[in-house]
């Protein structure tokens, strides 16, 4: 009985602050308070009318898209070597790919400052792409390697024995077999990259800024309800991604072990 009570309380507790942010974005007041004083869409109008916010939104979306594509492709190649070529030390290599996960984010932030300033990419879009690829590889690798392990190599052998060239076999047989895994990797790393703050905020500069980092610095400095409207847009975006993920692979993917 206590188990049930705790579980229900937790399941209501988790979405609570998100719901509050979304509700508070509809305030008509000039300052943030809850419950809200009067309903209006003025802060959404302000958000969508602001060239600065839209530019930052565009940067975040492009960054997440490129990062997701690169880290999914890199993960797919690595998974191919580990699974299809049954390479030596495959498990060790998989552990190495997951190492960014066991580093505290504040430490990764400083590591990346050092790395990017060494490369001369601090405060640049290219630098952010590089860092986001490193951060999302652990998330992109798992779905793709799981899909590849499930796909039957006999199909590829059949295609090859029927005379298909390697590239044709790859396009028409191998790739479709792992498509759900690839889409999951793309979406998953896209979300992680799009929402990343803790590491990214060390690396942005006057010429490049991401949406969550911008929201964070605004929250520290002001209490304008426009932050709530931008946050609500982030929430809407994340819900869309979760909806698509659920359709593509099913939400239970996140709690499955391979």
């Amino acid at each position: 009985m206590t188990t049930r009570a705790i579980a229900i309380a937790v399941l209501l507790f988790l979405p609570l602050p998100i719901v509050i942010v979304v509700l508070s974005s509809f305030t008509s007041a000039g300052y943030l308070s809850f419950p809200i004083k009067g309903v209006s869409l003025r802060w959404y109008a302000e958000f969508l009318g602001s060239a600065d916010w839209l530019k930052v939104l565009g940067t975040s979306a492009l960054l997440a898209l490129i990062g997701a594509l690169v880290s999914t492709a890199a993960s797919f190649a690595a998974a191919w070597a580990v699974v299809r070529h049954e390479m030596r030390f495959g498990t060790t290599y998989e552990t190495i790919l997951l190492t960014p996960l066991i580093f505290p984010h504040a430490a990764i932030g400083v590591i990346m400052i050092v790395t990017l300033s060494g490369l001369g990419w601090l405060g640049t879009f290219t630098g952010l792409i590089l860092v986001h690829c490193i951060l999302t590889i652990p998330y992109a690798y798992r779905p793709v390697v799981a899909a590849l392990r499930k796909a039957d190599p006999a199909l590829e052998e059949a295609a090859a024995s029927l005379g298909a060239r390697p590239w044709r076999t790859f396009w028409l047989v191998s790739l479709p077999a792992v498509r759900p895994g690839l889409v999951t990797s793309l979406l998953f790393s896209f979300i992680i990259s799009f929402d990343e703050v803790t590491v990214t905020m060390f690396l942005v500069g006057p010429f490049v800024m991401t949406l969550p980092v911008q929201v964070f610095s605004e929250v520290l400095e002001s209490a304008s309800p426009i932050i709530a409207a931008v946050s609500a847009a982030l929430v809407l975006f994340t819900s869309l991604m979760v909806f698509v993920l659920d359709k593509v692979i099913g939400i239970q993917f996140f709690v499955e072990r391979d």
């Binding site: 809850f34 190649a77 070597a81 190492t99 066991i102 490193i134 979760v242």
Partner: protein
Amino acid sequence: MPRSLRIALLLAPSGLLMCVFLYGLIRLIGSSLVTDGQIDLSYYEAIFSRADYVAMLGRTLRIAAMTTFFCLLLGFPTAYYVARYRGNRNFLLLMIIFPWLVSIVVRSYGWVVILGPRGLINGFLTWTGLIERPAKLMYNDFGVILGLVHVLLPFMIIAILSVLMQIPRNLEEASMSLGGRPSYSFRTVLLPLSLPGVLTGITLVYLMATGAIVTPLLLGGLGDTMLGTEIFQEVMHFFDYPKAAALATVLLITALAVVLPIQILERWVARRLSDGGSQ
């Protein structure tokens, strides 16, 4: 193309990314240890000789430990309930996964709206007349721990849930039908089998809590710093990169000192469990 060349090409993109990470890690530790080609421990001496830094280190460990404790306390029952739920489990999963994927900035900000002086709780309490002036619910340890527990709880639930889902329900039923009381079958069947998930959860939550910046800054303010927020201020306000590097190295060591033994324990538990299963 020879097989080894093909493997090398396939590993090149991901390997390159990992090398960049490794390069940064080595340079980080190097820049905190070496000045002008000489080993120089002055940054570490400066950190450990200052009472406020030692207190901050203690505060970081205390908050991380308490966050991990509360995440386990709330996460295990939730994971158990969801794993054994007979209805629409996907909906419950959605209630965990969706908040987990929403940016931590948005979630921490939500707590600012709830706990702040003009927020939900203070608004309600002043409206009922229970208090005259807003109570201080954030900018203290309470706010930071509440926010961190909220942000990190899904990691704990997911880690435990993924193990519990694999334990067949009838294993507990068998133990109970053989006369074991619920508490006995929990202790002897469920707890040992779920231990790998619990250890993974503890690792993740502890790591993220020690290295958190966003939640402690928004809910704890600038006064009482943690290791993560201190690093952030050294970089963003004082531009003291060597000191930030030394602090980041201290953070790495404190995190890995806890995480690596747990990882080894987890491997050992997993091996014991699989040995037990095959006998």
